[in-house]
Symmetry: C2
């Protein structure tokens, strides 16, 4: 059973005993990175970093997680800032969540756990269900009671048990972690975060021996940001990273508790009344990993930025029309965040910045106007 | 300008002069594989095989093509046959087409071509449009005149010029190749096939120094199958492959001209009257690369199999519900094909078989029934 530790108070524990620290903060899985070197083996995707993971590579869909492309995208440069994209849509269920699900499922399998669960009605639910079934585990997905069936269709393809939960969905996150019959792999639980950190290992290895100047990502629960921060510390301990890239959290303006806390110079993120946003998959008004996310932004000299929906939609369009990347709205928040950070001179000309596109946009059904004209085959050559 | 050659009559030509041979058959790009070794460099995705490609790695979305996971999937074993999946859905636009588009676009850019085009209303259109815009090229997509707007929405996200063509859409394929104002990168044109072959390089490298016993893939125009066959020959010339994996083509029973020709022991594929199928993206009644596909099946000791829609839907469900892979119907045709080939004893127990999942299923909008029950938060622990 992996040993876990609190980033804040330093207490250690066994994962079997607790998923959050007695002080209330999230825990992460301890590793031993001193002797870590960039791997040369043939493990696929994120599993090349098995030395920094609490489990061995699984078979099945979990083995297909990570290893996503990091590409230089000159057409998407912002001012003089050099744009790089990390396309997490190229995961088995189309989002970054597969990294954490794969670790959670592989660990459950190792320990003889037969049922895993998650509190989500979006990417995490799909990803957990897919990874569970690929490993032969049962999966329970808890969703809000009032969610329409069509929002659940993507999840149902993988045939998990879906439970509509009546009551305070916000409180469910915590309640679920106390349930013993099912192991919940929620957004900032230690095993999920152990998987999510691999995105930073991939980014840093691709740049090594150099380092990108900054990484911009959409932030919801704060789990991925916490994982990335952990990875940076591991690489520094291993002697593979001298300077940290600055980490920037992008949130939708309608629901931006982490940005507010950062700007107000608070140590803790307070729950807010979140509003509606097109980036609904990152609209977390009370992020369980919010304080750790704040600490990560400050430790790396980064920052936080809010993005109104109009800028998000414009960024989504630019990514597709000029970059060839079709992403979900929450990913576009990160790119729009980059544009604003450059405007605000927080990111400067000549810097190399990685924007994490957390999920592809093919699951979003919103149609767009099609502008096509009709020509006859015989006219085609002359029309062209 | 790359030099091209006919697999059948052996004639060479310059790509600028012709995309098909004077004998009528498709051409492929010549390479010099004698000294090729498995690469050790850091080029991303399919670009690790630049030594066997007519272009250098591009920047932008084209650099994100290929490098897809190949995973062992024990839960999807068929009888005693060991299942491996190659998940081509993990490409930038969600399908295998990105490999060929990336090469076509990179080559066009090299040669100062400013407009490229394609004849497609599906994955190839999306992929060509995305890759073109990512490189700053204009793109023309030719679709049938009577296609409904909603079928074009996925393409329109990338904002290419869409032309509805009145007249014989079948004939358009050939007409388009004669147009000088726009360079068409159709399904079995030499540059596209050069990109498509990289999937076989990845499969063979993952297994090396061993070899999979067979590869099963869905076949439409025959372009990808031709490319895979080319790659196998290149690897043999390089001394990296002793025995060929057997290649198997899977087609929808409603539109299976290549299967019919194979079973009738014909040297040429004849156009048929194709019917409707859920696997509409591979329903090509008159495949331009059909004869070359046939030659590939025979040269490798493989075969061909037709799949009725019911088996396709069942395979699609099994891939998602037991494997965690959500694929489009045409990809499920390949897995259903594997099941039938095992039933027919053409693939035997103990063999290791790679099924190529050519595209993910997130673009398909068909909803499915959602089976969810409602419980209150307080009951949750006891229900679980």
């Amino acid at each position: 059973m992996p040993s876990v530790r609190c980033y804040d108070c330093g207490r250690s524990a066994d994962l079997a005993d607790r998923k959050r620290c007695r002080c209330g903060e999230p825990l992460w899985v301890e590793t031993d990175p001193e002797a870590f070197e960039w791997p040369t083996g043939r493990n696929p995707g994120m599993w090349r970093y098995t030395d920094l993971l609490p489990v061995d590579p699984p078979s099945g869909v979990g083995a297909a997680a990570g290893g996503t492309p990091l590409v230089r995208t000159p057409r998407l440069d912002v001012g003089g800032v050099q744009s790089f994209l990390k396309d997490e849509g190229q995961n088995p269920t189309g989002s970054f969540k597969d990294r954490g699900s794969a670790v959670g499922v592989a660990s459950a399998l190792d320990r003889g756990v037969e049922r895993i669960g998650t509190v989500s009605h979006g990417n995490m639910a799909m990803s957990t269900a897919a990874n569970a079934t690929g490993a032969g585990l049962e999966c329970v997905v808890c969703v809000p009671a009032d969610i329409p069936d069509e929002r659940l269709s993507h999840i149902a393809h993988y045939d998990p048990e879906i439970l509509r939960i009546e009551g305070d969905y916000g409180r469910l996150y915590e309640v679920s972690l106390g349930i013993e019959e099912v192991e919940f792999v929620n957004s900032d639980t230690p095993l999920r975060v152990a998987g999510q950190k691999t995105v930073a290992l991939e980014i840093c290895e691709a740049f090594s021996p150099e380092t990108p100047d900054a990484i911009v990502l959409p932030v919801s629960s704060g789990g991925q940001l916490g994982g990335i921060w952990k990875a940076l510390h591991e690489l520094r301990t291993a002697g593979l990273l001298e300077e940290f890239p600055r980490l920037y959290a992008a949130q939708a303006a309608a629901c931006d508790p982490i940005v507010r806390a950062f700007e107000a110079d608070e140590k803790e993120v307070r729950a807010i009344e979140g509003g509606e946003t097109v980036a609904y998959s990152i609209a977390n008004a009370d992020p369980p990993g919010g304080n750790r996310a704040l600490a990560a932004l400050r430790d790396t000299g980064g920052g936080a930025v809010s993005v109104p929906d109009g800028a998000t939609r414009a960024a989504q369009q630019r990514l597709a029309r000029e970059g060839g990347f079709r992403v979900e709205a929450s990913s576009a928040v990160a790119y729009a965040g980059l544009e604003r950070l450059v405007e605000r001179d927080e990111i400067g000309s000549g810097e190399r910045v990685v924007t994490i596109l957390t999920g592809h946009g093919f699951k979003e059904s919103h149609g767009i106007d099609v502008d096509a004209r009709t020509v006859s085959l015989d006219e085609l050559a002359s029309v062209l």
